[in-house]
Amino acid sequence: MIHVSDLRKEYIQKGQKITAVNSISFDVQKGEFFSLLGPNGAGKTTTISILSTILSPTSGNVLINGIDVRKDPHGIRQHIGVIFQDPSLDDRLSAQENMDFHGRLYGMSPVDRLRRSELLLKMVDLWDRRSSLIRTFSGGMKRRLEIARGLMHRPLLLILDEPTIGLDPKSRRDIWHYIHEARREWSMTILLTTHYLEEADGADRVAIMSKGKIVALDHPANLKASLGPSLVTIEFPPESLESLKTTLNMLYGISRFSLESESLLRFPMPVNVSSPAVFLQSLPPVLTGFSIGTATLDDVFISLTGDDGSIDNR
């Protein structure tokens, strides 16, 4: 469905060359749910702007449904639905009219527009508000309408740029429910960018981006497995930090931590210990907390990007 090879995008800003996307390559299969994960400024939005033909690449190839984005951008746009990070509705028109205009722009017949907008507005629970102007809608309602509108012309590829940013947990859940419902209806490919790690967790494959490059690309479970079967978190008084680190390094050769602060360390459980109890006993008796859990995408993300975990909007 999507083929990206050696894609680069450079900007000139204040006389300086900025490489927003630095030679990335990936393929997405038809019907796959693919997620781009990374902090702000990692190049996610630039990448999907190129895929949705808003920006043109500096170099490299991008094929969508077998069509080159440079050769036939209009042919591609017919098959993709884009849900932008910021709202893109006409707030002086009603919900129904926004849907209808979208249908017209994508060349849908009047009967089809009517049928589709009814179906989708009912799906996102906005059918009762179909005649209200968008300016009277809340943020969550606007987002739901944008999802419905993006699905209006039955896109083969749905591109979602941070679709649930700034929404309350219930709205976020609802939106994912609608997207999956639509995905069941026809085999739609989904490309998601997000920095909510738990949203990327639902994807078939995740590409982690950092500073314009893809630093890891795999199934979320495999990414987590790469950190070992389980993660240990220990808590202690700050003055014990150095002695604990020395002990861990001497006994188990642990020198890298997936999370580190003056009173907390997180690291993969060493494979050569027989049980957690044995492991616990081998440490100095200064711990105030001890827990074992499976790795999350957070841990993968932090260990790969070296980020301190302060990915914003979390």
Binding site: I54, R92, L105, M108, V111, D112
Partner: protein, 283 residues
């Protein structure tokens, strides 16, 4: 709007119709880029017209300025200022210029609408739609020009209040001039909007451009015996030739030759169309 209302009242479709729809869909999706663009142009035009209709207060409000010029300034100077060589009173003399003034101001507002669309985010929705940039620009120009042409027609309809009774022929030719001026001034506004991201910035820019265009056009004064600097600037103003045409058609005296007037307003219109399309292609 009514169309949408009517459509929403229809009965749900049967299974058979659904099958038919997918057939129709195939046909529509396989139409060529030209038809796709025509449909896009119509859609964008329709949106502007619906929005104008919904914003009737703005429509009414925009008449206040030309009416003040026409009846207060025109009425006040009517007996005191006699435009040389026009054979008419001041109020009638400025009438064609006032019609074009309202067109000029409303047309440049179309550029503002593009900036608002960008601020609101709606422009992105249009830019990822399967229509060409040219269709986007042409659709916006037609939408904005319809807007200002409607305004111009309303003002032209005030002619009987000034005891001007144009013939059908005169009305026909004036509508032609008004259409060309509407299209070219809208295209200018849209060309200027292509790079603007803030509406405040655009407003300032428009004041720098629209007011000089208006004041230099000779809408408010006769073009003969002007100081040289003013005469030169006035000749560089494309609206001068539109005003001259309108006044010539209505009052029978042209300052420049008709052909020169027509050539210049057509040329300016096409140039602005070309520039605005080019500006948006680069985006």
């Amino acid at each position: 709007m009514e169309e949408i209302q009517r459509m929403t009242n229809q009965e749900p479709q049967s299974q058979l119709t659904i099958e038919l729809i997918s057939d129709i869909d195939q046909k529509i999706h396989s139409t060529g880029p030209f038809l796709r663009d025509l449909r896009g142009i119509y859609t964008l035009w329709l949106r502007d017209v619906i929005r104008l209709w919904r914003d009737r207060i703005r429509l009414v409000g925009s008449f206040i300025q030309p009416l003040l010029f026409l009846f207060v300034l025109g009425g006040g100077l009517r007996g005191r200022v006699v435009p040389q060589g026009s054979g008419t009173n001041y109020q009638i003399f400025i009438f064609p210029g006032i019609v074009l003034m309202s067109i000029l101001f409303t047309s440049s507002f179309a550029g503002m609408a593009v900036v608002w669309d960008r601020e609101m985010g709606f422009l992105k929705e249009v830019l990822v739609a399967p229509i060409s940039r040219t269709a986007v620009v042409v659709g916006k120009i037609l939408g904005g020009a319809s807007n200002s042409l409607i305004q111009g027609i309303f003002l032209l309809a005030l002619a009987p209040f000034l005891k001007i009774y144009p013939s059908f022929g005169q009305i026909f030719f004036m509508l032609g001039v008004m259409l060309i001026v509407s299209l070219s001034q809208t295209a200018m506004g849209i060309a200027l909007s292509a790079r603007m991201s803030s509406s405040q910035g655009f407003m300032v820019l428009m004041n720098f451009i629209v007011l000089p265009i208006y004041f230099l056009s000779g809408a408010m004064f006769p073009l003969n015996q002007l100081p040289t600097w003013l005469s030169v600037l006035s000749q560089m103003d494309p609206l001068t030739y539109g005003v001259d045409l309108m006044r010539g058609i209505l009052l029978g005296t042209f300052y420049y030759s008709v052909y020169r007037d027509i050539f210049i307003i057509m040329f300016f219109g096409l140039l602005m169309l070309y520039i605005s399309v080019r500006q948006f292609q680069k985006d």
